[in-house]
């Protein structure tokens, strides 16, 4: 697989959140490598409230990791 994750550091919490989304999607990609099958599933789960909530939960878990890796952006001036 190509290189897609070089660092967990991001400049802002929002970029960290977006990285958490990428990590969540990658977990699906590794489990189901076929883009065609994933594309077939997407319209189903993206219109299902419980699937959306479950997706948001994975993002939350990955955001914990990314936030810790960035020391919660405590030293970022905003």
């Amino acid at each position: 697989m190509e290189q897609w994750l070089l660092s967990l550091r991001t400049d802002t919490p929002q970029e960290g959140f977006e990285l958490a989304i990428q990590l969540s999607q990658r977990g699906v990609v590794y489990t189901q490598p076929s883009e065609e099958i994933r594309n077939r599933l997407r319209p189903l789960y993206s219109k299902n409230a419980d699937s959306l909530i479950a997706a948001s939960q994975i993002i939350a878990i990955n955001f914990q990791t990314v936030a810790a890796a960035n020391d919660y952006w405590k030293n970022t001036t905003t």
Copy 2:
């Protein structure tokens, strides 16, 4: 996407809890960007006990992150 998350710092635990709710909702927004579809789903899951419990769980996970980022508001005088 517009800037929506500049910092994980909040003045009080309650504002931190409310930020955790925002993070949970954002996870859904990124997964299903169509506001129209989300609005259609909302009345369904917001009247379903298990969906509400699941939503509360994501908030709990995000609140862990926000609380850690604020050092649990230990130095806040109340």
Copy 3:
């Protein structure tokens, strides 16, 4: 919304556990603000084993946060 969370500090682990329960319920309240709807749902999920287990799980997650905020009450004499 009124002020309901001023601090994560509690005197004892048990009060901390009870705060974790409050946090779990607040997650539901924010997601479904209508007390009337919540009251309609309560008899259903409170008699459903899987819902009760799910509720206990959110409490466990919030208790992790509250316990960390109190340094696990290590310096409390009991």
Copy 4:
């Protein structure tokens, strides 16, 4: 409610695990205070594999908290 949780400290990891079980059960007790209803539900979920797995998950989450509170019993001689 009576006093039931005075400390998160235990002498051994096994006692810590058993405390984690108590915490998990307490989460259910607070959500459904009626012992009669809980007793009616117990035979159902205790014979359902997915409910048992879910119960074990809450125990695992609470055990994280108890283990951290005991500094993982690192200084316990065994």
Copy 5:
């Protein structure tokens, strides 16, 4: 119940992972003490993909605890 957990320390990460599996199984044993009932359930859940995934999730949570207890085996030469 007999003594089964004397320490969270293990020599290697793999032994730590195997301890995490034991902890996950113990959570089930405490909740359903009857070996006969558990044996009846095993063939069902062990052939159900979602149950297997749920079991793997508990192992992951317990592995977090065991890994932290061993300081992630950072000082183990391999």
Copy 6:
């Protein structure tokens, strides 16, 4: 069982993510050792959106552990 986990250290975050996937799969292998049964289940869950989301969640939990074990690769030059 053969040796399969000698260390939680990896050179890059991406290798850490791939180790997290391995840990997630191992949890399933230990619970259902029969490769034949697992192979029968794979086509089912890998085409089910909710199973894929659940798999991604375990990966996220294990990635928390691996990332902490590597101090979030903070000292890795990229």
